[in-house]
């Protein structure tokens, strides 16, 4: 019994920390609709700045002149200012860009911050001082159990912050405006409120909360370079389970997740990796808008921002250009060296992977944060066949899309019932579940040591032949996707995206069409995965992990989600850029981050979107 009470208290303490991070994220999302991937970086910066402010301004490990609490608060404010800088310099310019596009920008910030933090604070983990007055453990009254003082303080802090935020939102004019903007941005703007100042203010608030959460970890945990990504996924889970934009929901969800962790390790010590994602999946399936979220007001058809460019058959010039590019791609392998051939095959794989995701994100109007699941399932299907049944490569390549497609049918059935970020997070949950199966089912999948020796058959072992094979399958898959987009199926999909009620009124079965699109995209991602597995000779759980999903997302966004062939260019640009930078410099993360930020600022419609704009401007000039 005592153990259970203590474990419950541990859960409460973790929940409070989690709530602080998640509250900032949910406030920012509520108003600006920005999926702020850099929130974890702000949290990490809070911890690092807190460490510096608390320890550095005095010698010998004693707290500096600011004292512990002064240092923590100052760190939170400093992070708030960094948040303001990110908003003013970067995100402010992107509010009119497609939904999720700012995600790309914030991902660039994550990379930049990772490299800068390493440069500024060094590689070694830092251990902060303990909080004065809250050392050690205390005997709990009545229960007679010992429990750390600082954890008790955190348990109390969560509700206090929730209360303060509640007061801010309910009792001040600023809070009133934020709530109004959460309900209807346009209307608030029309009433003469300065939206820019409001957004900046909200971002400041969110960043302060992230910084505070980070700095408050000092007495509990070490400060290290992995904090950002460790916290961001969990914070997203809390925000989504709670209901986007809902503070109370975030608090409830943080409690749920915190307690789950605490008790989960007593019952299932080996599945802590995936427990939160299982719970998120269950919550989202049962309550599609989280615990406390409300269904968004239906967007009236024809509302500004809702209309996307109509997809027409490509102009003749573009077709000729595409044909020329394809001819060039076919010719290339005959002149490339061995390494260039393997990169060529990689690029072909990424193009297909990005195009398959684009079917969902572009014409489908659904976001997926877990597309790597199907890539990885395809790769594992091929590898398992090769490893356990010694199947030839042709069998692997034929069956991998089938396996991934079946997984797409299974997961998609749930995902297409949700909308927006909820659907995206459900795909993430399924991807994490698939990942943990690959990671933990050691007897079959080899766990994190993976499956080795998945090399192509003898006839395709020559790099040149394999490159052509990859090109052929990638081009075939891409053409299939393009065909689907221009077929009645694609029209139905786009009709659902642009106006679900109208599409339903003319008899398009919304769920079925989306479901099939999901499975189709999954199958082709699986094909890409199988090719990738044979190209590398081995598969590992990293193929299904979050970074791989993020890569696909970045490629699509970079290329232009509202174009048809954008992902091809996005895949080539992103993969090419990272391949070159990693070879050229140790600081590739900084440079890649800066490049992403620059691309986002200069091409807010993506590369292909910018090209199209340029083309259309030229055309209309010519006509005049």
């Amino acid at each position: 019994m005592d153990a259970l009470i203590l474990q419950a208290l541990n859960g409460l303490a973790s929940a409070s920390s989690l709530f602080l991070v998640a509250s900032g994220l949910t406030v920012i999302f509520g108003v600006s609709r920005i999926v702020n991937f850099a929130h974890g970086s702000l949290y990490m910066l809070g911890a690092y700045l807190g460490w510096t402010l608390v320890t550095r301004f005095a010698g010998g490990g004693a707290p500096g002149p600011l004292g512990f609490w002064g240092g923590v608060l100052l760190a939170a404010l400093a992070v708030g200012l960094i948040g303001v800088a990110i908003e003013v310099l970067l995100l402010r310019r992107l509010y009119r860009a497609p939904e999720l596009f700012p995600l790309l920008a914030t991902f660039g910030v994550v990379l930049i911050v990772q490299d800068l933090a390493l440069w500024a604070w060094g590689p070694q983990d830092l251990l902060g001082p303990r909080a004065p007055g809250l050392h050690g453990a205390v005997e709990l009254p009545l229960l007679g159990l010992r429990f750390p003082r600082y954890e008790l303080f955190l348990i109390a802090l969560g509700p206090v912050v929730l209360g303060l935020l509640w007061l801010l939102f309910r009792r001040t004019r600023f809070g009133l405006l934020i709530r109004a903007a959460t309900e209807d941005r346009e209307m608030v703007g029309a009433l003469g409120v300065d939206q820019r100042a409001l957004f900046t203010g909200v971002f400041f608030l969110g960043a302060v909360l992230a910084g505070l959460a980070g700095a408050l970890q000092l007495p509990r945990e070490s400060v290290n370079l992995h904090m950002d990504l460790a916290v961001i996924v969990e914070a997203f889970v809390v925000v989504v389970v709670g209901g986007l934009g809902s503070l109370g929901g975030a608090f409830l969800a943080a409690l749920l997740i915190g307690e789950l962790h605490a008790f989960g390790i007593l019952v299932f010590p080996r599945i802590t990796l995936v427990l939160v994602f299982l719970v998120m999946a269950v919550v989202l399936v049962l309550r599609p808008h989280g615990l406390a979220g409300a269904a968004p007001a239906a967007v009236p058809p024809g509302a500004p921002g809702a209309a996307e460019p109509v997809i027409r058959p490509a102009p003749l010039a573009l077709r000729r250009f595409a044909l020329a590019v394809f001819a060039l791609a076919c010719a290339l392998p005959s002149v490339l060296g061995d390494y260039a051939l393997s990169v060529f095959a990689d690029f072909a794989v990424f193009v297909l992977f990005a195009m398959s995701l684009h079917l969902l994100m572009g014409p489908g109007g659904m976001a997926s944060f877990g597309h790597a699941a199907y890539f990885g399932i395809g790769a594992y299907a091929a590898a398992l066949l090769a490893h356990h049944l010694a199947a030839p490569m042709a069998a692997g390549i034929a069956l991998a899309p089938l396996a991934a497609g079946l997984a797409g049918l299974a997961f998609g059935w749930f995902c297409v019932r949700l909308s927006g970020v909820y659907a995206a997070m459900l795909t993430l949950a399924f991807a994490q579940i698939a990942w943990s199966v690959a990671f933990q089912w050691v007897e079959v999948t080899g766990g994190d040591n993976g499956i080795l020796g998945v090399w192509p058959d003898a006839w395709a072992r020559d790099r040149r032949v394999f490159a052509w094979l990859a090109l052929a399958l990638s081009a075939g898959g891409t053409l299939l996707l393009l065909r689907a987009i221009h077929a009645p199926f694609g029209y139905a999909l786009r009709a659902l995206r642009d106006s679900a009620p109208r599409a339903a009124a003319i008899g398009i079965p919304a769920l079925t069409v989306r479901w099939l699109a999901f499975a189709f995209a999954a199958g082709l991602a699986g094909l890409a995965g199988a090719l990738f597995a044979y190209g590398k000779g081995s598969v590992f759980p990293t193929l299904l992990a979050i970074p791989r999903s993020v890569d696909a997302l970045l490629m699509v966004l970079l290329g232009g989600v509202r174009t048809v062939t954008g992902p091809i260019w996005g895949a080539l640009a992103y993969a090419g850029l990272s391949e070159q930078l990693v070879r050229a410099t140790d600081h590739w993360r900084l440079l890649l981050g800066l490049a992403i930020v620059a691309l986002v600022l200069f091409f807010p419609e993506g590369l292909a979107g910018a090209a199209r704009r340029w083309w259309e401007a030229r055309e209309s000039d010519g006509r005049r």
Binding site: G122, D125, P148, E579, R589
Partner: protein, 423 residues
């Protein structure tokens, strides 16, 4: 934190100097050596392709690369390998095995390296080992600890320097078996390294002490330990001793919560790798006392070879060497010794022949290390001792060098584990 910057700056200056020295070396080298090299038709530098997770694990790998460069410069300052300079092309795999394989292809085909080396993560090591096997290249794995690398998935082209998970567990079991404790708990990160460390420890300890029982096992996600809850769960089982496999930030958080909650009071703790300065120093004055650990007592290890190594490292990088530094330094020493043995020949078969049974000195300054012909594992050992606090930071005391050769299974067992094709 300035030290990193300083180290980098002085690194620049030094490497500029090294390049100058190295560039001059062929001129200064004896005419005979030059003639020999020319006769061999390969007067250019010998190139090593090194792949590691630099951005993912900087705490271990920055000191590693520092010492790598230091060893390489020393080799080159002595005239290189039969007049040929040693050169390394470094690549960052960012912790992704598939990226490591891509880099390996680039290093072999574009950079024309003669052999591959590196890897910290076990899965990266295995991916590279399979690449080496497929493309018939020598791969000298420096750090990855997984037993599979030389045993169940071993191959002819792969050699490994560090004492493996099995070896380090065997070293600790020897000490653990002497403890009176019978009720044991285990905490290990939830991936291959943690799981196999836990498995070996249980198996070997049960063999040495049939009376022990394991009352609790915790497998937190790597890098994501929920330290408070984990500590409480262990304490709830009330073990007499704990076997810890967590490291890096998981270890730091585990120790901090364990101290706060008194988990380690009146309990024995046996802990893998915790004596390595990479993991012990960040704990500062909260470093636990009396834990039985494997590690590297960099400050107190006193013998001429190690002192010279430590002094050179301090001078050049303005900080103490870490365990990673020794691994980096020894990998280069091993490769250079092997190349001297081949007479500067860089054919893969010749290099493999020279690696098998190769003996070379370690920066530890302890007995010579051998790359065993039977499984391509080196006999590099580790230090086993206890942790203590000195001047507000953790150190190892009462340590001894555990020679790796003594902590390997009998040859017939090894032969059974290793595939036939690998011999």
């Amino acid at each position: 934190m300035d030290s990193g910057l300083l180290a980098r700056r002085s690194l620049l200056r030094r490497s500029a100097a090294a390049v100058a020295v190295a560039a001059a070396a062929p001129l200064a080298a004896p005419a005979i050596a030059r003639a020999q090299a020319a006769a061999g038709g390969a007067a250019g530098p010998i190139r090593i392709g090194e792949i590691n997770s630099y951005t993912a694990i900087p705490a271990f790998l920055q000191p590693y690369r520092n010492a790598w460069l230091m060893a390489q410069d020393e080799v080159n300052a002595q005239g290189g390998i039969h007049g040929r300079r040693l050169e390394t092309v470094f690549r960052d795999d960012a912790g992704r095995p598939e990226d490591a394989v891509r880099h390996a292809g680039e290093l072999v085909n574009v950079e024309r390296v003669h052999l591959l080396a590196g890897a910290f993560l076990s899965n990266v090591g295995l991916a590279l080992s399979d690449f080496a096997n497929q493309h018939r290249r020598l791969f000298v794995a420096s750090e990855p600890l997984t037993d599979a690398l030389v045993w169940s998935r071993g191959n002819r082209f792969t050699f490994r320097l560090r004492p493996s998970t099995y070896m380090q567990c065997a070293m600790l079991v020897e000490e653990a078996a002497k403890l009176p404790a019978r009720r044991w708990a285990i905490v290990a990160p939830n991936y291959e390294y943690g799981q196999s460390a836990a498995r070996w420890f249980k198996e070997l300890l049960a063999r040495a002490r049939p009376d022990v029982q394991f009352v609790a096992e915790q497998y937190p996600a790597l890098g994501r330990i929920d330290a408070g809850a984990t500590v409480q769960a262990l304490a709830g089982a009330n073990p007499e001793a704990i076997f810890n496999v967590t490291f890096a930030q998981d270890l730091t958080n585990f120790v901090r919560q364990g101290n706060t909650r008194g988990l380690f009071e009146r309990r024995h703790v046996v802990s893998l790798l915790t004596g390595e300065p990479e993991y012990l120093l960040p704990l500062g004055d909260e470093a636990p006392e009396g834990w039985i650990v494997t590690g590297y007592p960099y400050a107190d290890l006193d013998n001429p070879r190690h002192n010279a190594f430590r002094e050179a490292y301090r001078r050049r990088f303005n900080e103490e060497p870490r365990c990673g530094s020794v691994v980096g330094y020894d990998t280069v020493t091993a490769i250079a010794t092997m190349l001297r043995r081949t007479g500067g020949a860089t054919g893969t078969d010749a290099m493999i022949e020279a690696m098998r049974g190769l003996r070379f000195p370690t920066a530890f300054g302890t007995a010579e290390v051998e790359f065993r012909a039977i499984d391509h594992q080196s006999t590099l050992g580790a230090f086993v001792g206890k942790t203590a606090l000195r001047d507000g930071r953790g150190v190892m005391v009462d340590w001894r060098y555990a020679d790796g050769a003594k902590y390997l299974p009998p040859d017939e067992v090894v032969r059974q584990m290793r595939p036939q094709s690998a011999s």
